[in-house]
Amino acid sequence: MNTVMPAASAARRRHFDLSVPVLGALGLLLCGLVLLPLGWLAYYAFTDKDGGFTLANFVRIFTDPTFVEPFLRTSAIAVAVALASVVVAAPLAWLVARTDMPFRRWVRVMVTASFVTPPFLGAIAWEILAAPNAGMLNQLYQRLFARGPYDNLFDIYSEAGLVFVMTCYAFPYVFVLLANAIERIPGDLEDASSILGGGRWTTLRRVVFPMTLPALLAGALIAFLQAMTQFGAPAILALPAGFHVITTKIWSLFQYPPQPQLAAAAALPLLLVTVLLLQAQRRLLGRRGYTVTGGKSGMARPLSLGKWRWPALALALVVMTMTILLPYAALIKASFLRTASDPLTWEKFTLYNYQWIYSFPESRTAFFNSFSIGLMSATCGAALSLVVASLAAQRGFFGARALGVLATSPVAIPGIVLGVGLFLSYTRPPLVLYGTPWILLLAFVTIELPAAYQQLEAALLGLHPELEEASRILGAGRLRVLIQITAPLIATSVVATWCFIFIGAIRELSATIMLTTAKTKLVSILIYDLNESGDLGLIAVLGLTLLAVTFAVVGFVNRVAGLRQGSARAVRNY
């Protein structure tokens, strides 16, 4: 000890704490990421073609029926998606988190894994399933019930069809939030309720429901925002039906001659609605939030469903059939056929689509781009959010809180709005990033930053500060503490965050559609292009391959991290 102490304090004097300039640099970087695109967006929204100030863009979007209609329709669709997501997710989350439904763990894993499916791929799969005439389900119905050729059960090219598909890929958000919230309700509260004479239904209504209400509302809000700001599924399903939603309308404004001023003006209300709703949610949660205080309460006992166990499982299976089994079955079938609606017989079976895609040089380029940009985004995003989260977690440090606010602010920026903003910012000097992978990297990191930051912030809050303090006392700078002490301790969360950003980058289309060029084509864009020329078999091969490689990468990263995690645990035990 005697020998260590002076050395440490000497080291402390010698090494200037790097975290102050780093903090400043990070603050500037985050400002650049967020404020630059929004600034240009606002500038364009209030200017005319010659650069003069005008309100004409707003007058136009609020009076021209070709804008007003998509706005109204998008709102109605988003409300419907939010309601439907809650209706599907709430019972399922309760069954998984609170009952003895068979295979409940599996159901949970599967629903969470369905997050990996990009919504645009799901929409195309549902085209194959439920297009009014060629859809597999409609053909099955016609055959089973001896109906005529135009007698259909489903029409996916409709508002209802769009709501259905968007719900399939929005409800997992609600599900995960709700299942976690329900799990956190201490069993004692339910016990108390039943001791006081409350029946099962009363307990559900008066204990479980109010305690999960904040999560329910938060989930509904996320589903609403997802539906309102999504580009892929509407572009695939709404345009054939002959209507626009707001995102497809904004995209159409970039057709020649481009009207970026109108696009910027149409994007701002989307931004405004998102900010207001998030604000409302914060207020709502502030008032209705329940704090579960006290030490560890008894683990909740799963509620026995009795004879309802199997019907409950059947319900869960129906949901998974819609979101996973049927879409992937349809994609697999289409991948082996020249014409997707043909029956899959030996005679019609072909590997043509696989051969074509695997020998098509552009698909190799697209896979290379998607995965290299995905890996870069995940690595940069995880590193950035780790640094920001750990700096922000050190209380009493000036500017740290502001940094946290900056990092979470992109949550209010819909992908297509950010896409327009980045396009306007980086197609001009001094930084012409349009046409390079960097602009996509910027987009993906910005889009995923809030969730990544929150995930790591939560992980850091669960750490005991003693270890970090010990290291600081021994003279390590904040950055060194972060690299040597903090990061290994929360390795699992960092890996989870990495995977989250990676998957997010792979399934992104709203911003991507604005920002790719021929040289930076991604798999998502290739799929979208092929959809516009109607090559369903080729899309199926691309989509299935994309999914397989994504799972492989995520699995590999988790495995490698699993080894490291062992050493982190050893440190913690020590």
Binding site: T66, A131, P132, N133, A134, P149, Y150, Y157, A238, L239, P240, A241, G242, F243, H244, T248, S252, F254, Q255, Y256, P257, P258, R338, T339, A340, S341, W356, F360, P361, E362, T365, T427, R428, V432, Y434, G435, T517, A518, K519, K521, D529, L530, E532, S533, G534, D535, L536
Partner: protein, 356 residues
């Protein structure tokens, strides 16, 4: 094999260029540069560049066949195919050039008016491949900046499993009958150059025009984007009838036994001449010239005709026996220089009538 097409197969074959020789108005002698042959020096300079980027609106699988054939002929040069709708390609190039990104070497578009626009913006290089010297004057730019690298028709079509030939529509007027409500698929002029040109021609056709399109919009059509897609939707059985779509995609599907038949409407069928040229700021100028020469050569054109079922203006090309020769089809034609003035109006009216 659809009977309708078969019945024409026995007719004498007349090449498209013969038809166009007869259509030519004002035999202006081209004042552009003299046709350039492919020299060994060009080939070796192109191989040194190693890559050529081809922006095109030809169906992806046909464009890729062309690229592969070129690569086999000139080993060491990779063709990067960027395929999208003609209007999307146009949007991409204007965006890229707006940001000083010079990525494209050779550009092909089914909307020849796009090439007229590039020429006016001074983005094209004057280059006349040897074979283009044999082109009908109407199908090449007099200053040598571009020429028609392919043509196709926008045809009516139907699914032969869902509709008997006797019940099939024969004309555009037929498609307004109540029985076709909710049964028609069509492509989008703001995406597809073929459809942009076809819509322009229909809007000018006597007896049709925008009044006709307005009535068609009431038929509950299914709106797809690319003109390559309606024939594919017919093959799926998703809709029994297509209002417009590429003849070449329909013919290719017929070649693979898909249950499709083509109808050349009695009023006339829109003929769409595409165009191709090379960019002045092409990053691979030699490879661009070599590829452009191949695209217009008898070999390249024959590939587009045989595997891609497109129509060609190269007199050296052999017409497949199983399709109706152009001379037997009453066609609508367009002057790209006039069409370019109508583009914005077409997009606006179309969005108003059809919703997107």
């Amino acid at each position: 094999m659809p009977r309708f097409v078969r019945s024409f197969a026995a007719l004498p074959v007349i090449t498209a260029s013969m038809l166009f020789a007869s259509l030519m108005t004002g035999n202006a002698i081209a004042a552009g540069p003299a046709p350039s042959p492919v020299t060994p020096a060009l080939v070796s300079a192109a191989v040194k560049e190693g890559t050529v980027t081809f922006y095109t609106s030809i169906d992806l699988q046909v464009a890729q066949d062309l690229a592969t054939a070129f690569q086999n002929k000139y080993p060491g040069i990779t063709v990067q195919v960027e395929r999208s709708g003609a209007e999307r390609i146009y949007q991409r190039i204007t965006e890229e050039y707006g940001s000083n990104i010079h990525n494209v070497d050779v550009v092909d578009s089914s909307d020849a008016a796009n090439l007229v626009d590039y020429k006016q913006r001074n983005w094209l290089a004057a280059y006349v491949p040897a074979d283009v010297g044999k082109w009908p004057a109407r199908q090449r730019d007099p200053d040598g900046f571009f020429a028609a690298d392919r043509a196709t028709l926008s045809v009516i079509g139907y699914n032969t499993q869902l509709i008997q030939p006797a019940d099939a529509p024969k004309s555009y007027a037929d498609l307004l009958a109540p029985k076709w409500k909710g049964k028609i698929v069509k492509a989008h002029p703001a995406y597809s150059g073929n459809i942009m040109t076809a819509t322009y021609e229909i809007s000018k056709a006597p007896g049709l025009g925008w009044a006709y399109m307005q009535k068609l919009a009431q038929q509950g059509i299914m709106q797809v984007q690319s003109s390559t897609e309606p024939p594919k939707k017919l093959a799926l059985g998703e809709r029994p009838v297509m209002f417009d779509g590429n003849e070449y995609n329909a013919l290719m599907l017929i070649d693979t036994q898909a249950p499709i038949a083509i109808v050349y409407p009695t009023e006339g069928t829109p003929l769409v001449s595409g165009a191709a040229g090379l960019m002045k700021d092409a990053p691979h100028p030699n490879a661009a010239r070599l590829f452009d020469s191949y695209l217009f050569s008898a070999e390249g054109q024959q590939l587009l005709v045989t595997t891609g079922e497109l129509r060609s203006f190269n007199p050296g090309v052999t017409e497949p026996a199983n399709r109706v020769p152009l001379s037997k089809i009453k066609v609508f034609t367009a002057d790209p220089a006039e069409q370019i003035k109508a583009v914005d109006d077409i997009k606006q009216k179309y969005a108003e009538y059809f919703g997107t």
